[in-house]
Amino acid sequence: MATPKFDVTKHILVPKHTIISERERKQVLEKYNITYKELPKILVNDSAIKHLKPKVGDIVKIVRASLTAGETIYYRGVINA
């Protein structure tokens, strides 16, 4: 039986994920004075970013709805499964 395809990215609880550009990447790392290693991590095969076709080493920007701040931005480094 074929399981019906469910697009997790459309789900209300899945925040918006995007891979950021080289320029933005530099800005983020510089702003927090960190290297890629110190970023929070996300697996390449994570369902929420699978459709973006991420590569290991990319940085994913996550825009979340926040109870306290309305909207908040989070970054994650893509790592190998």
């Binding site: 702003k31 927090y32 110190e38 929070p40 926040s66 306290t68 701040a69 931005i73 970054y75 790592i79």
Partner: protein
């Protein structure tokens, strides 16, 4: 003046394993005999208590270093083992090496051209995921090597090595003796060891098979002399005695050319003794025991677990200058005071440095001595020598006293102490109080600070610590004073507020009371308000006016009382809109919503506008004012608070009867099969739900009736309305109907088969048989009702008893996992290694303790900015 100059600096530390050579080199004696003492009771040379290994008897001198008891830290010895023995702690190392190196040539079972790439993979893993990633990678490689059956270096066939726990290895059903194992490990070249994460310079693999055994110094296994003059040896000495004895026998048997079986048996025995010497809790071995049957405490038992050296002695801290006793309330001491018994005050002390200005003052303390309060217990000389003050030494000490000395005087009013109640779950569990020396034997604290400590007075005990240096005292005062902890960092509101009587009192005062001028002044003075300038010249005062005297004259505030509905007319009638203008309480009742802990913004605003010192003073006065009001009025609740008029009782009876009828009808419907099921539910479930709903509705209705008919001026109602204690439900249970008893969200349905009690018919679904308590507490419960009540009571008791340790452990794990997390200057949250956890603290960068209930009042900020 200065610390000792540094002449050697630690550059790096290498961890490794002692080689046989080093063991011999660091030893000062070779142990050859299991005997301990000769006939005169003098330690035997070459025995386990050899005086070259250190001294434990007073008067003797160490033969190695010449020092006396307590000066000599002891010296290691060694024994030469007749046959090598596997070191238990390295069994796994030996096994992996035997499995993944060649049995002939000793090289790793990796082809020459691939070694470099393996090393690279490991290095990369370490770079990406740290040392733990490298280790797991090594493990992976080892498992792949196990199946190799031909050495890529010398082409010899490999055998499968199996371990027979704990310490024997077999290959093809044939035992690999420790001699053989050692020979194989010797062949493994240094560079191959690196692949396994072994630094061969500090740890040659063959060293994990012992050929000599170091004997720990006698100072770490001292014998004790019993009253009878008999000597009792330490567990380690016993174990070492066994080892030496078996070792000697093994030597003799080998030299005598005994049969191989006997030698092997002895060898195994030696292995057992050496293994249990290191660890007496090896799963497969019976623990070595005393003659009395209790297991020996050997090396790993000394280090491991809660009672071990690490958690007990190193991580566990004990402290002097502390006290612990039962706590009791005293609403008349200040919020930031703690009452301590005079006996405690005379035992604990504060060192006070003697200067030329206070010498005379301190001499009086010494003169009173340790037995008369306030006296002094010790005098400390500038060289650090402590001298006890007694009646005999008193005069001499006073004579001797000069600037530079310190006097350890008794605690006095106003000294600083840190007060603590376990479990110390948040920072408010340890606060700094001012000492107040009081009679009797309990610690006294203001009931308003019960909330941060989570204390009550049903037998709780608390701890008190007295800081001993000027720095510690200042630090405690700046960081830990009660007033600095007023606002909780958890929700940004005051966690210290009025409780119980203080709430009731202020509620009554601000609701409807009127006092004459004399009474008003009396009340305010009793509450320790000395500034009565804001009291007008009137002869009669309303409670609100009296309350307003405590407020700053420029304080403006708007808020809500407990019964606030939002309906303007109702709120006007009930006086639930709090308006304070220029320090005058114009409308509104002061109840729990305004004065209580963790509720309302009035206290929060007081702190914000007037600072914590002022706020805590005001809070103290409000608290005492409430109590004084009750003292003046007299206040107690009684049984007839729950009396209901006849019509109320009838109405309650009717409501319940109606509900019973309805339920009976539902059951009848169900039995006839006419009941329609809810979507997704069975008919039975539907019936249960319907019954439950109907009965709860009935109970709530009786609650409403009780609320309507209850005397509004009865003490019980006043307490419930003010929020001091109790709620409408408690009242309804007392006067109306106790209601349904539920186990796991269902009506009670266990007990006998098909019924809850033998008094009911099988399959009886009526309210009575399923735990509905129709009576009120005042009326008294029927026997079956009482039993159902006991069931739920026991269930909830069990629940709390089981939940407390569970949640405690959960909290401990959380706290340990997050203890190094902090907010950096760029407002990001990081752990100790600099990994980002949040990019903005709490997503909004707000310090909760600087907010009002987690929010910022932007409107007021704008107003205040525009004003300035």
């Amino acid at each position: 003046m200065m610390g000792p100059s540094i002449h050697k600096k630690v550059d790096s530390i290498v961890f490794g394993v002692f080689s046989p050579k080093i063991i011999k080199k660091m030893s000062s004696a070779k142990v050859v005999t299991p005997e301990l003492y000769d006939k005169e009771g003098y330690p035997v040379d070459g025995g386990l208590m050899d005086i070259r290994l250190g001294v434990i008897d007073p008067g003797l001198r160490c033969k190695t270093c010449g020092q006396k008891l307590k000066e000599c830290t002891g010296h290691f010895g060694y024994i030469e083992l007749a046959r090598p023995v596997i070191h238990y702690n390295f069994v796994s190392t030996v096994l992996t090496l035997l499995r993944s190196t060649c049995r002939e040539c000793g090289r790793v079972l990796i082809p020459k051209n691939k070694i470099d790439s393996y090393a690279k993979v490991l290095d990369q893993a370490e770079q990406e995921g740290g040392i733990s990633a490298r280790r797991s990678k090594i493990k992976e490689i080892i498992t792949t090597l196990r199946t190799t059956n031909k050495c890529p270096w010398c082409k010899s066939r490999q055998q499968k090595v199996v371990i027979e726990k704990p310490t024997s290895f077999y290959e093809n059903e044939k035992r690999i003796t420790p001699i053989e194992a050692r020979a194989r490990l010797e062949k493994v070249p240094d560079e191959d060891c690196m692949l396994f994460g072994i630094n061969a310079k500090a740890f040659r693999p063959e060293w994990s098979v012992l050929t000599v055994l170091p004997i720990p110094p006698v100072t770490m296994r001292p014998s004790i002399t019993l009253e009878s003059g008999e000597r009792s040896e330490d567990d380690l000495t016993h174990k070492l005695g066994d080892i030496v004895r078996i070792n000697q026998r093994l030597f003799e048997n080998i030299n005598a050319g005994a049969p191989e079986i006997i030698i092997e048996d002895l060898w195994d025995l030696l292995q057992y003794h050496i293994t249990t010497f290191f660890d007496n809790a090896v799963a497969q071995l019976p623990p070595a025991r005393h003659r009395s049957g209790q297991p020996l405490k050997t090396i790993s038992a000394r280090i491991k677990s809660k009672e071990g050296r690490i958690r007990h002695n190193l991580a566990g801290k004990r402290t002097n200058f502390s006290a612990r006793t039962v706590i009791s309330p005293d609403p008349m001491i200040d919020l930031d005071e703690v009452g301590i018994p005079i006996i405690v005050a005379m035992k604990l002390s504060v060192p006070e440095k003697v200067t030329e200005w206070n010498a005379e003052y301190l001499k009086k303390f010494i003169d009173r001595g340790p037995k008369k309060y306030p006296g002094a217990n010790y005098v400390v000389r500038p060289d650090g020598k402590k001298k006890k003050i007694t009646d005999e030494t008193k005069e001499q000490v006073i004579e001797e006293l000069q600037p530079g000395y310190s006097v350890e005087r008794h605690l006095m009013d106003g000294d600083i102490a840190i007060f603590n109640r376990q479990p110390s779950l948040h920072r408010m569990s340890m606060m700094c109080h001012r000492i107040r020396v009081l009679p009797n034997k309990t610690f006294r604290l203001n009931p308003a600070v019960c909330a941060p400590y989570n204390a009550d007075f049903d037998g709780d005990e608390m701890n008190l610590h007295v800081p001993q240096t000027e720095e510690a005292r200042i630090e405690a005062e700046i960081l830990m004073q009660v007033k600095t902890q007023l606002i909780s960092p958890r929700y940004g509101l005051s966690i210290i507020g009025c409780i119980q009587d203080a709430i009731t009192g202020n509620y009554l005062l601000t609701k409807a009371l009127n006092f004459s001028r004399e009474e008003a002044v009396e009340l305010l003075l009793a509450a320790r308000e000395n500034d009565l300038s804001s009291l007008s010249n009137k002869q009669k005062f309303s409670g609100k006016e009296i309350f307003s005297v405590l407020l700053p004259t420029d304080f403006n505030f708007e808020g809500k009382s407990k019964g606030f509905t939002g309906d303007e007319k109702v709120d006007m009638k009930n006086d639930t809109v709090v308006v304070i203008k220029k320090g005058q309480l114009e409308s509104g009742i002061m109840d729990k919503a305004n004065l209580g802990e963790g509720s309302g913004l009035m206290l929060r605003n007081l702190v914000k506008q007037y600072g914590e010192q002022k706020a805590i003073e005001i809070l103290g006065k409000i608290f005492r004012l409430g109590i004084e009001v009750l003292l003046k009025l007299g206040f107690s609740c009684c049984l007839h608070d729950t009396d209901m008029p006849k019509e109320a009782r009838e109405e309650i009876e009717n409501t319940l009867s109606k509900a019973y009828e309805d339920v009976d009808e539902m059951i009848a419907q169900f039995n006839e099969g006419k009941l329609e099921a809810f979507p997704g539910r069975s008919v039975e479930e539907t019936l249960e739900l319907k019954i439950l709903e109907r009965l709860n509705g009935a109970r709530n209705k009786t609650g409403g009736i009780v609320g309507d008919f209850a005397q509004k001026d009865s003490s019980t109602i006043i307490m419930a309305n003010s929020g001091a204690r109790g709620n409408p439900l408690n009242l309804a249970q007392m006067a109306g109907c106790v209601g349904q008893q539920a186990l796991r969200g269902k009506r009670i349905d266990l007990g006998y088969s098909g019924r809850t009690l033998s008094a009911f018919k099988k399959g009886d679904l009526s309210p009575d048989s399923r735990g509905f308590i129709r009576n009120s507490f005042k009326k008294g419960l029927a026997p079956h009702e009482f039993f159902f009540g006991a069931m739920t009571g026991r269930d909830s008791l069990m629940d709390t008893a089981l939940r407390t340790p569970k949640s405690g452990y959960l909290y401990r794990r959380l706290a340990n996992a997050m203890q190094d997390v902090k907010i950096e200057y760029d407002e990001s949250v990081r752990d100790a290694t600099g990994n980002v956890i949040q990019f903005n603290y709490g997503e909004d960068n707000l310090d909760v303790s600087k907010t009002e209930g987690g929010k910022l009042n932007v409107q007021r900020i704008i107003k205040s900015v525009l004003k300035a």
